[in-house]
């Protein structure tokens, strides 16, 4: 394949047939261009969906109770179901093998928070230390709620980045005292950021024990959240997670005597199953885009193949001369194949670079809900290049065979 003499021979031919080469290149270049743009947007959709979705840990199970909507075993609908610390501890014990992180939560929807003369209204959530991992929050300053904060019911809080911006625009919040609902002082120990953005970052996290005290909630909790241990096999993890959700649902229905079909009263949300669906969707989108892109390339390849066929026909006499002068059939095949691969590859690279260039220019400014920063990664580019060379070879194959079969006497017969 790498034979400098042969390359020179091919450059000669290409050089002296510029228009033909240009026309051939055009179809391939546009095919690759379309493929690259499509793949870019497929990755953009993937980025967008992932960002939307991965605000919280994807292997999360979330348990909450509300009001019954159906009568069951002589009980009237409209009962309020209230989970307590006991329920949380029972579940922890029962599922300790499967649980990775765990927390219960007690929340107060509108809490007024003051720092000096600044103030704002935020969600207050009493949680365990593991909440940080379940929520996918990253600490940008200080520390998160700790185990001893919980044991000693300390009045400490971790504020979201949006709260910091609101209340401490020019000050380091760590160690500062904030006033909650005009009567309780908390010390800020940390600031977190959350992939979910400013809404998720407008919350104050405090130890659950403290929350239950200051809001006079006794042992009540609003929600329980777990993450499940992941096994290497995603499908297996999804199955385990689903089984555990189902089992927790059963436990609570038994405990609270809730009708099996009352979907409002008890909710156990299994994020992993959702994740599987969404990843499946992303895969489908990607597959569709590849399919369209490959289709475009096939059209390009057929185009190149056709042009090469015409070229071979046009060059019948020349190929006859070459054979009379001693060209081996294999040399004729290589001549056509190499020209085809070369043109396809060069044209493809041009398409690739233009496509990547457009994505680089336009990509960063695209920031819609479900499309984010469309780019083409290195692997994809390499794959495209391999596709190019292979398609060049495919496009050249039939014309090359035809060229090799040209009989010199027939080609050279004087009409």
């Amino acid at each position: 394949m790498f034979n400098i003499e042969r390359w020179q021979e091919i450059f000669d031919t290409i050089n002296k047939n510029k228009l033909r080469t240009f026309l051939t290149s055009l179809s391939v270049a546009s095919g690759i261009l379309i493929l690259v743009i499509l793949l870019g947007f497929s990755s953009g959709i993937e980025n967008g969906v992932r960002t939307q979705f991965e605000q919280d840990a994807t292997n999360r199970i979330s348990v909450s109770t509300r009001v019954t909507t159906k009568g069951y075993k002589g009980l009237n609908p409209g009962r309020r179901l209230q989970m307590t610390n006991k329920d949380y501890e029972n579940l922890n014990e029962k599922y300790k093998e499967q649980i990775e992180y765990k927390t219960s939560l007690y929340r107060s929807w509108g809490g007024q928070v003051n720092y000096k003369e600044k103030q704002g209204s935020y969600r207050i959530e009493g949680v365990f230390a593991d909440q940080q991992w379940i929520e996918n929050a990253t600490l940008s300053q200080g520390r998160y709620i700790s185990q001893s904060d919980i044991e000693e019911s300390r009045k400490v809080g971790v504020i979201g980045y949006q709260m910091k911006e609101d209340l401490f625009p020019n000050t380091n919040p760590i160690g500062k005292t904030i006033l909650l609902n005009n009567n309780i002082n908390f010390i800020v120990v940390g600031v977190y950021t959350d992939p979910g953005g400013s809404r998720e970052e407008s919350r104050l996290f405090i130890p659950i024990t403290t929350a239950q005290k200051v809001f006079n909630a006794g042992e009540n909790i609003d929600r329980i959240a777990y993450t499940v241990k992941m096994s290497d096999n995603f499908d297996e993890a999804v199955a385990l997670s689903a089984a555990m959700s189902e089992s927790i649902d059963q436990d609570l229905r038994t405990k609270f005597s809730v009708a099996p079909d009352d979907r409002v009263a008890i909710r156990v949300d299994d994020t992993l199953e959702e994740a599987q669906k969404i990843y499946g969707l992303i895969d489908t989108i990607r597959a569709v885009f590849w399919f369209i892109g490959i289709g475009t390339i096939i059209a390009g390849v057929v185009g190149v193949g056709n042009i090469m066929l015409i070229v071979v026909k046009e060059r019948t006499k020349e190929i006859g001369i070459r054979k009379a002068l001693g060209a081996l059939p294999s040399e004729i095949i290589w001549m056509v194949l190499q020209e085809s691969i070369f043109i396809t590859a060069i044209a493809g690279f041009v398409g690739l670079f233009i496509g990547v260039g457009i994505l680089e220019l336009v990509g960063p400014s695209i920031e819609m809900d479900f499309i984010k920063n469309p780019t083409v990664d290195f692997t994809t580019s390499i794959t495209t290049v391999i596709i190019l060379v292979v398609s060049g070879a495919l496009a050249g194959f039939i014309p090359a065979r035809r060229a090799a079969n040209i009989k010199p006497i027939e080609a050279l017969r004087d009409e």
Binding site: E5, K317, G320, A324, L325, G326, P329, E331, I409, D414
Partner: protein, 233 residues
């Protein structure tokens, strides 16, 4: 140099078979300059194509430079052509987008000769046919006689045992024909074996031996007193 016995060749088109060569026995010694004469359709080109391994006989034997030529596949035929033979055609058959020197160098490319040596040799043969100054010209910038000279230079480039020329002067006027024949005689003087197919008696008289074909048979094979083309230029 060339030895053929009882050579037969038929062309089958549809369901009619045309017996073109009907048992040719013929030999050529090294250094000969032979013309093959005959009217149009008598099988001259067919014979030359078989000698040139561009076509295969149906039966008979063919030996070239002590090498039996049989069971040719395309690859072997190509190698033999490249090694033993140089072709000169009536319509020149130069590659239109290659200049004179690149045309001459092409057989050397298929002999895997490096570019530099190729160009040197090609230039040498262009000088020999008197076209050194035209090396960079494309075929369509050359006259008919010049094109045929380039073709002769190309045929010589691979230093073949035998030159096969099919109506080399068929597309040229008389004066140019004689110039080309002068060149061919000169090459023969250097010892090279040459076969020329022609239907023009004056051209045949400029070779050393005339073989007459009629209806696929040799009806006459005689040595002649060669007429020097130079005298008529």
């Amino acid at each position: 140099m060339i030895e053929i016995t009882d050579l037969h060749k038929s062309y089958i088109t549809g369901n009619t078979s045309l017996h073109v060569l009907k048992g040719i026995d013929f030999s050529v010694k090294e250094g000969e300059l032979v013309s093959i004469m005959g009217s149009s359709g008598s099988g001259k080109s067919t014979l030359l194509n078989i000698l040139g391994m561009l076509d295969e006989a149906d039966s008979g034997t063919y030996t070239l430079d002590n090498t039996p030529i049989k069971n040719l596949n395309e690859k072997i035929a190509a190698q033999y052509r490249n090694k033993f033979l140089g072709f000169i055609f009536q319509s020149f058959n130069l590659i239109s987008y290659k200049n004179a020197i690149d045309n001459v160098a092409l057989p050397l490319y298929y002999q895997k000769v490096g570019r530099k040596e190729r160009d040197e040799k090609a230039m040498h043969y262009l000088e020999k046919v008197g076209l050194a100054d035209w090396a960079d010209h494309l075929p369509n910038q050359l006259s008919g006689g010049q094109k045929q000279r380039v073709a002769i230079a190309r045929a010589l480039a691979s230093d073949p045992k035998v030159l096969l020329a099919d109506e080399p002067t068929g597309a040229l006027d008389t004066k140019t024909s004689y110039e080309v024949m002068d060149l061919i005689q000169g090459i023969n003087e250097e010892g090279r074996t040459i076969l020329v197919v022609t239907h023009e008696p004056d051209i045949a008289e400029m070779t050393k031996r005339i073989v007459n074909l009629k209806d696929g048979r040799i009806i006459d094979d005689r040595l002649v007193n060669q007429i020097k083309a130079k005298a008529h230029v």
